[in-house]
C-alpha cells in the first residue's frame, strides 16, 4: 500500500532493519501516533485501541514491503486514516460512546481545558474526510500536500476541506461559548 518513498533510514540497525526484533521497536515508537489518530477521530478509547492493534497487525504482515523509517511512518498514517474512515462508513449511527469516559494520559497544562474538550467534541462531529484531515494537520503537523498523499486525494480537495472545517469549528465554538443554555 502506498508509493515507495525515497530512502533515508532513521534506524541504525543491522542488515535487515525490519526484522521481527524491530517490529517491537516500531510498535513502541509509533503506538502513540497510531492510537492518537484513531482516538481523536473516533472519540472512543476502546474502539481506537482495537483499530490501532489491527493497524500494527497489518504492519507485521507487510513489513517486507516497507523500505525505510519514513516509509513506515507514512504507511502507518495512511493505513490508520483509511481504517478510521472505513470504520465510520460501516457504522450506521456513529455514536459518541460512553466508553471514552476516562481521557487518555497526555501532556498537561491546557490553557482552557473545557475549550479543549469541547473542541475535540466538535471535531468529532466533522464529516469523516474533513475530520481526518484536521487530525493529520494538527496532531501530526502534516502539510496539505502530505495529507493529500496519505489520503490519496487531490491537494485542492484537502485544502478546501481544511478551510471549511476550520470555519465550521470557529463558528461552532463561538456558538457553544455564547450559548446561555449550556
Amino acid at each position: 500500500m502506498g508509493t515507495a518513498l525515497a530512502t533515508g533510514t532513521e534506524f541504525d540497525t543491522a542488515a535487515n532493519p525490519l526484522e521481527p526484533l524491530n517490529f517491537e521497536a516500531l510498535v513502541a515508537r509509533h503506538q502513540s501516533m497510531v492510537f492518537s489518530i484513531a482516538y481523536h477521530f473516533l472519540q472512543d478509547r476502546s474502539v481506537a485501541e482495537e483499530l490501532a492493534q489491527d493497524v500494527f497487525l497489518q504492519l507485521y504482515r507487510h513489513l517486507d514491503g516497507l523500505e525505510s523509517a519514513n516509509h513506515v511512518t507514512f504507511w502507518l498514517r495512511r493505513v490508520t486514516a483509511h481504517r478510521c474512515i472505513d470504520h465510520r462508513r460501516r457504522r450506521r449511527f456513529p455514536l459518541l460512546s460512553l466508553d471514552s469516559v476516562a481521557e487518555p494520559a497526555a501532556p498537561s497544562s491546557p490553557a482552557d481545558p473545557l475549550l479543549t474538550r469541547r473542541l475535540r467534541g466538535l471535531i468529532s462531529e466533522l464529516p469523516a474526510h474533513a475530520r481526518i484531515a484536521v487530525v493529520l494537520r494538527y496532531q501530526e503537523d502534516l502539510t496539505p500536500e502530505e495529507i493529500a498523499r496519505v489520503l490519496d486525494r487531490p491537494v485542492a480537495t484537502v485544502k478546501s476541506q481544511l478551510q471549511r472545517a476550520l470555519k465550521t469549528l470557529r463558528e461552532k465554538v463561538l456558538r457553544v461559548v455564547g450559548d446561555g443554555r449550556s
Binding site: Q53, A105, L119, R120, Y138, D141, V176, R181
Partner: protein, 101 residues
C-alpha cells in the same frame, strides 16, 4: 487570530499515550513475548502509592469527562429539537398561508 486557533487545535489534538499494555497486546497477537516483563517495578511501596494516587485522579477525570459529555449531549438534544421545531414552524406557516389564499 490564526495563531491562537492553531495553538488551540494543536493542544486539542496533541498525541496521547496508547493504553497501558498496548504494545504487549499487539505482540501477543503476533506471537511475541511481552515488553512489560522488562519494566517491572521493584519498589512496591512506591508502586502502591502511585496506584492509589492514579486511581483517585482517574476517578476525578472520569467524573469530569462524564459532565462534559452530558453537557454536550444536552446541547445536542436542544439543538436537534430547535431544528425540528423550526422546520415544523416553517411548514405551519406555509400551510396557514395556503389556507388564507
Amino acid at each position: 487570530m490564526k495563531d491562537v486557533e492553531d495553538i488551540e487545535l494543536r493542544r486539542a489534538l496533541r498525541r496521547v499515550d496508547a493504553p497501558e499494555g498496548f504494545a504487549d497486546r499487539v505482540l501477543a497477537r503476533v506471537g511475541q513475548p511481552a515488553i512489560a516483563k522488562r519494566h517491572r517495578l521493584r519498589n512496591w511501596a512506591i508502586a502502591a502509592t502511585l496506584t492509589i494516587a492514579a486511581a483517585g485522579g482517574a476517578w476525578y477525570r472520569a467524573e469530569d469527562q462524564r459532565r462534559v459529555q452530558g453537557e454536550e449531549a444536552k446541547r445536542q438534544v436542544l439543538l436537534s429539537l430547535n431544528i425540528a421545531g423550526s422546520k415544523l414552524k416553517a411548514i405551519e406557516m406555509k400551510v396557514n398561508r395556503g389556507r388564507e389564499r
